[in-house]
Every structure is written in structure tokens, then in C-alpha cells.
């Protein structure tokens, strides 16, 4: 029997609301900035067969991967092993996980004695041991250097801490207090999810709710199939490159053939390069999550996000390649760097089918900067995982967003005040970077420049960046976006230089365990988004606005947009350059604006 649509919508909204509340609880109680400021977590609900019935709008890289992580855990453990009050933890990339820092906690939800399903969270634990502070070692060559790996093990047993497991965790992580606090924030989030689900089940009944969630999934699947049917059938190919793996200075190719066949999409990554020696390999779950992410960007955002909407999207990822890493290859950058590139190649393929819906490439790197050491004031170890925001690609009807987390996540930028309060670092400057957005009819979003001053006697830093050489691509005649960089000015030096020059690292963008000292400055530049459409078609008035806002320099306005600016008595005006006058779509020739 079909349930009334209004009734189903109410149920969907209530389940989603439970997931949101789980996230708020975690955000308000976690210890690490990566949680409470960065939102690097996800909350979702599953039925007793391991099908996702709802999720909230947190980190999409984890949302897509949670399907596989939960599936693996239920398969390995067996549903019958779960008891009320149990919580299991799991972060193994080779068991359906994303990358090592992402810990999944899973709690069964019973009504009376009958299992309804599970509340699940995945959260990025900021410090998990391994060779580099903050785990993201840009030069790791095997997973054992990347941190503590946990297969599915019980963290709570019928409501009681399994202290043997907690002791192992706290002993192997450099910042045990943060681990304790963050895992308890996740436990609190699961408790909220469990309590709200039980309230729901008591009101609606378990059997009815299971039936209705099944119908919700069927409707989501049908809706997503209709969305895909609107994309012209065909096979669309695209490729992009990771510029190095931190071990050898060579690029590595990611290739996809996206086949649209009626209401189904097959993303086939056959032809992608073999898994690399360095840590840029993605797990199958990461590749799948990135593919879902790209398709969701191109389809109706109102499609209910449950297992149903994922079903029409199939992913083929050959084992042993960069998109389906096998033991014991390292994988820590697969979910921060390669993930972004996978979203980009799927988007780049589908732009050929639906150019009006797609966007140019975003900055596509986490600009992961890890640092740690001993707090001068307290003598305690500190560690932080910092990611920088990037410019997003311009689309067919709007400029790209500025300084936003790459689309693998929705993470917020950690405020400067939090940074300076918690760590011996002074943020000397943080600004949007002029000219970093790709030129176009619609301009790419801007990246940023951040300069950090070290205020401790010494600090250990690591980096895992990409897009330092191969810029984000533009579309339909739009220009490429700006590239990233990380450089250092020693206290005794007068200019910023690359880490390859100062510390002789193999890669300028991927390295670990570099010791910096008091007074050193570190400059982080994040990438901008690609532009969309011919820059000469951008209305000259908008180019003038961009110059006034310092998004675009006068030089780039002239060279890339063909708009020449004149300043006279505090007023800036423009004239179109001779070359622009030949463009078919010219804008009004004279506008004066007060500077």
C-alpha cells in the first residue's frame, strides 16, 4: 500500500532533523577545532539491513562513504552481535572506510527488544599517531606510517566503556585528551540519534516506520532516475592529473568514462594509473563518494538523500589503482586531495552532456597544513589539522564562490581568533587573493593568502597540497584558476621560499615533519576556481566592479578582459581595449564610478 506523500515527506524531514540535531550536539561538545569549527563529520541513520534512511547536510565525502563503511561493519560483525548500548568503532580504509582519521561510530537502535536500525557518525579525529603530527603525512609510503588502524571493535559494551580499546587509542594518539573529548562528542551524538529515533518509533510503530522508510528509498531512487534520464544518453570521457605523490615528482592520471544509460549512470575509472607509492590513493568508498557528489551537484538537490538516490549510480574502480587502493599502500591524501580531483573528472565528463548545469574546476585541494609540538605555556602536546578554503569554479550563470571549502566537504574555515587562542601561532594576514579566480564571462572564485607566524621555540609542520603546478581548468573559453603554494620565510631570511629550496623536500606540496622555529613565517596560498565563458563577454561594468573590489587587478582587466581603466581625480572609468571592440557581445562603453 502506498503511503500518502505528505506523510512520507514529514517522516523524511523528521529523520533528517534527527541527523541535524546529532550534528549540532557533536559540534557543541567536541574538543577539536576540526569538529566544532570545521564541521568535519557526518551523521546518518540506517535501517537494520544497513540501508541509509536519512542523513544531514554535513561532510559529503563521508556521507557517500558511510554507505560502504556501515555495510562492511554489518557484514563483518553480523547484525546479531549488536546489543542495546553497544557502540562499535572502525577506521580501516581497507574495510570500506574513507581514510584513516575518519572514525565511524555505529550504535544499534532497539525498540523494546527489536532492532530497528543504527545511528552512525563519522568524524575526523585530528591526531591518530603515525609518523606525522595530525596524520596527513605527505610522504608516507605505507599505511602503517599514517596512524592507528582499527578494524571494527567495540568501544562501548552495553553502555560501559571497553577500556582496553580506549587505552590503546589514548596511548597511540599524541593528544589523548582531544581523542577522549571528540569520541565522547560522537557518543553523545549517537545517544541523541538513538533517543529521537525511539521517540519516533513509539509514536509511529516499528513495523510501519520500516515500511515507510523503504517506500522513501524507492521514491528517492525513482526521482534520481528521472533526473538522470534528463541527461542525454552517451559516453563522456575526461581525465585530470594529480601532480605528484610526494615520493616521486611525477604526475598521476585519473581517467573516467561516464556512461549515461536511461536512468542509470556508470562511472568507469578503468585506465586510471596504478596506485602510487605516496599517499594520494583513494579507497573505493572515497571514489564512490566523490562520484555521488558530482552527480548530486548536477541533479535536483531536493531528491531525498537516502540509499535510494545512490542506487542508480554505479562505480567501476579497478583494484590496485589510485581510485581503489589495496593494502598496504598509503591513502591519507586520497580523501582530501584525490577525492577533489575525482569529483572534477566526473563533473568534467558530464559537462559535455549538460554544460548549462556544470561548473569549471574548483581549487580542488584541501591545502592540508598540519602542525604540532609542545605548548610553551602548559608543556602539553598540541596538534592541529588545518585545511584552507579555495575558489570554486564559475558556472553557466554565476561567478564561482570565493574562499570556500573544496566541494568534498562543507567545512568552515577555522576563525583566526580560535587559531591564535589555541596554538602558538599568530595569523599575520588572511585575504582573498587578487587575480586568483579564472577569467571568464563568469569569473572563478578567489583563493586566499594566509601568513602565519610561529610563536613557539619550535614546531613540527607537514603539508599535503596539490594544484601547485596544474591549475584548475576553465570551461567554454574561461581561463584557469590560480595555483596553490606553501612557502617559508625563516626568521633570518628576507623572502619566502619553497620547502624544496629550504628543506630539500622531494615535493614542494607534500612533505612531513619539518621543524620550524620562532619568528618563521609560513605563507599558504590556496587555488582559485576556473572561469566559465569568454572573458571578453563579461560586461565591462562588472569588470570595473571587480577591480574596485580588488578581485581583479587593472592589469588583468586589460590583458584578460580587454577592459582598460583610467583614473582621473579619484574616479575610475573604463574604455574597452581595441581588441575587445572586435568581440561580438560588447558592453556599454562608458560608465563612471566613484572609487
Amino acid at each position: 500500500m502506498q503511503t500518502d506523500s505528505t506523510e512520507l515527506t514529514l517522516l523524511h524531514n523528521r529523520l533528517t532533523s534527527i541527523c541535524r540535531e546529532m550534528g549540532v550536539a557533536m559540534m557543541k561538545t567536541a574538543y577539536s577545532p576540526v569538529f566544532n569549527e570545521g564541521f568535519d563529520f557526518v551523521c546518518s541513520l540506517f535501517d537494520r539491513e544497513g540501508r541509509m534512511i536519512a542523513q544531514a547536510e554535513y561532510n559529503p565525502s563521508m556521507l557517500g562513504a558511510a554507505i560502504y563503511t556501515v555495510e562492511w561493519m554489518l557484514n563483518e560483525i553480523g547484525v546479531k552481535c549488536f546489543r542495546a548500548g553497544d557502540v562499535w568503532v572502525h577506521n580501516d580504509p581497507y574495510r570500506g572506510g574513507c581514510h584513516l582519521p575518519e572514525h565511524m561510530l555505529l550504535k544499534p537502535v532497539f525498540q523494546k527488544d527489536e532492532l530497528f536500525g543504527f545511528a552512525a557518525t563519522i568524524g575526523h579525529i585530528a591526531e591518530i599517531g603515525g609518523k606525522a603530527v595530525g596524520a596527513l603525512a605527505g610522504d608516507a609510503t605505507e599505511i602503517y606510517q599514517e596512524g592507528l588502524r582499527l578494524p571494527p571493535v567495540k568501544l562501548m559494551d552495553r553502555g560501559e566503556h571497553v577500556m582496553d580499546i580506549w587505552k590503546i587509542l589514548m596511548t597511540n594518539h599524541r593528544t589523548p585528551k582531544l581523542t577522549w573529548g571528540d569520541l565522547h562528542a560522537m557518543l553523545g551524538s549517537l545517544h541523541i540519534g538513538e533517543a529521537r529515533l525511539i521517540e519516533l518509533l513509539e509514536a509511529r510503530g516499528l513495523s510501519r516506520t520500516l515500511d515507510e522508510t523503504k517506500e522513501l528509498m524507492q521514491r528517492a531512487e525513482a526521482w534520481m532516475r528521472r533526473e538522470i534520464e534528463a541527461i542525454p544518453d552517451g559516453e563522456y570521457r575526461f581525465e585530470d592529473w594529480m601532480e605528484n605523490d610526494g615520493i616521486t615528482d611525477e604526475p598521476h592520471r585519473i581517467q573516467v568514462a561516464v556512461s549515461v544509460r536511461g536512468g542509470e549512470i556508470i562511472a568507469d575509472f578503468t585506465g586510471t594509473d596504478p596506485q602510487t607509492r605516496g599517499p594520494i590513493n583513494a579507497t573505493y568508498a572515497v571514489t564512490a563518494a566523490a562520484t555521488y557528489n558530482a552527480v548530486f551537484h548536477l541533479t535536483d538537490p531536493q531528491v531525498p538523500r537516502n540509499a535510494g538516490c545512490y542506487r542508480p549510480i554505479k562505480i567501476i574502480a579497478p583494484p590496485g589503482t589510485m581510485v581503489n587502493v589495496q593494502h598496504p599502500a598509503p591513502e591519507i591524501g586520497g580523501n582530501s586531495e584525490t577525492h577533489c580531483r575525482i569529483i572534477g573528472v566526473v563533473m568534467g565528463a558530464l559537462v559535455q552532456a549538460v554544460p548549462e548545469r556544470a561548473a569549471a574546476a574548483d581549487g580542488a585541494t584541501g591545502c592540508n597544513f598540519l602542525f604540532g609540538g609542545i605548548q610553551p605555556d602548559t608543556g602539553e602536546f598540541y596538534a592541529n589539522y588545518h585545511f584552507e578554503n579555495v575558489g570554486w569554479g564559475a558556472a553557466a550563470n554565476h561567478d564561482g564562490n570565493d574562499a570556500q571549502c573544496a566541494p568534498l566537504a562543507i567545512s568552515r574555515n577555522v576563525p583566526v581568533e580560535v587559531f591564535e587562542t589555541r596554538y602558538p601561532i599568530l595569523v599575520r594576514s588572511l585575504r582573498l587573493l587578487t587575480d586568483s579566480g579564472g577569467a571568464g564571462l563568469f569569473r572563478g572564485g578567489l583563493g586566499t593568502e594566509r601568513i602565519l607566524e610561529i610563536r613557539a621555540p619550535e614546531m613540527t609542520v607537514s603539508a599535503l597540497f596539490d594544484r601547485m603546478r596544474i591549475p584548475p581548468w576553465g570551461l567554454q573559453g574561461g581561463s584557469t584558476g590560480g595555483t596553490t603554494s606553501i612557502s617559508i620565510r625563516r626568521a633570518s631570511d628576507s623572502e619566502f621560499r619553497l620547502f624544496t629550496d629550504v628543506f630539500h623536500t622531494v615535493s614542494p606540496s607534500k612533505f612531513s615533519n619539518i621543524i620550524v622555529r620562532h619568528g618563521d613565517l609560513i605563507r599558504i596560498v590556496s587555488s582559485g576556481g576556473g572561469g566559465y565563458g569568454d572573458p571578453f563577454h563579461r560586461p565591462a561594468g562588472k569588470v570595473l566592479d571587480d577591480v574596485l573590489d580588488r578581485y581583479v587587478s587593472a592589469q588583468q582587466a586589460r590583458n584578460l578582459y580587454g577592459v582598460v581603466l583610467h583614473e582621473s581625480e579619484g574616479t575610475l572609468s573604463f574604455d574597452e581595449a581595441p581588441s575587445r571592440r572586435t568581440a561580438s557581445d560588447r558592453s556599454a562603453a562608458s560608465v563612471n564610478l566613484k572609487t
Binding site: 560502504y68 555495510e71 562492511w72 557484514n75 563483518e76 581497507y94 574495510r95 570500506g96 578494524p151 556512461s259 556508470i266 568507469d268 578503468t270 573505493y284 564512490a288 554505479k314 562505480i315 567501476i316 574502480a317 579497478p318 583494484p319 590496485g320 581503489n324 589495496q326 593494502h327 598496504p328
Partner: protein, 68 residues
């Protein structure tokens, strides 16, 4: 037509290599959808991957076992 059977290596902690779906490449934790073709055993993570194998993989790559 296939059947469900235990083929994955989820609980074997001495073995680090996983078993993969013959169509999509996904690791199989424990239960696999097992299909016999011309005397060869194909493992899938779900029955729908058998369909993908027949409709997409075989026409493109031939009826070969590309990975285990």
C-alpha cells in the same frame, strides 16, 4: 543465476588481501553473489553487479575475470 555464499575475507586477520566484485571492483566483506560461467566462478557484491557485468563489462572488456 547465482547464489549467496561466504567468500570474503573479513574475519581473517592473517590475510591482508581482499576479494573484489568482478564488476565494480568493490571489496567483498563476507557474503558474495557467486555465479558460475563456463566453469569459472565470478564473485559479485550484489546481484545488480552481475547485470552490470553482462550489460557493460563483457561487451567492453570481454568475458574475462579482470581481478579477484
Amino acid at each position: 543465476m547465482g547464489e549467496w555464499a561466504d567468500r570474503g575475507l573479513a574475519s581473517d586477520y592473517f590475510q591482508q588481501q581482499n576479494v573484489h566484485c568482478s564488476a565494480c571492483g568493490k571489496m567483498i566483506p563476507r557474503r558474495a553473489w557467486v555465479v558460475m560461467r563456463d566453469g569459472k566462478e565470478l564473485l559479485f557484491c550484489e546481484p545488480d553487479c552481475e547485470r552490470i557485468y553482462d550489460e557493460y563489462c563483457v561487451p567492453r572488456y570481454g568475458a574475462t575475470i579482470r581481478w579477484r
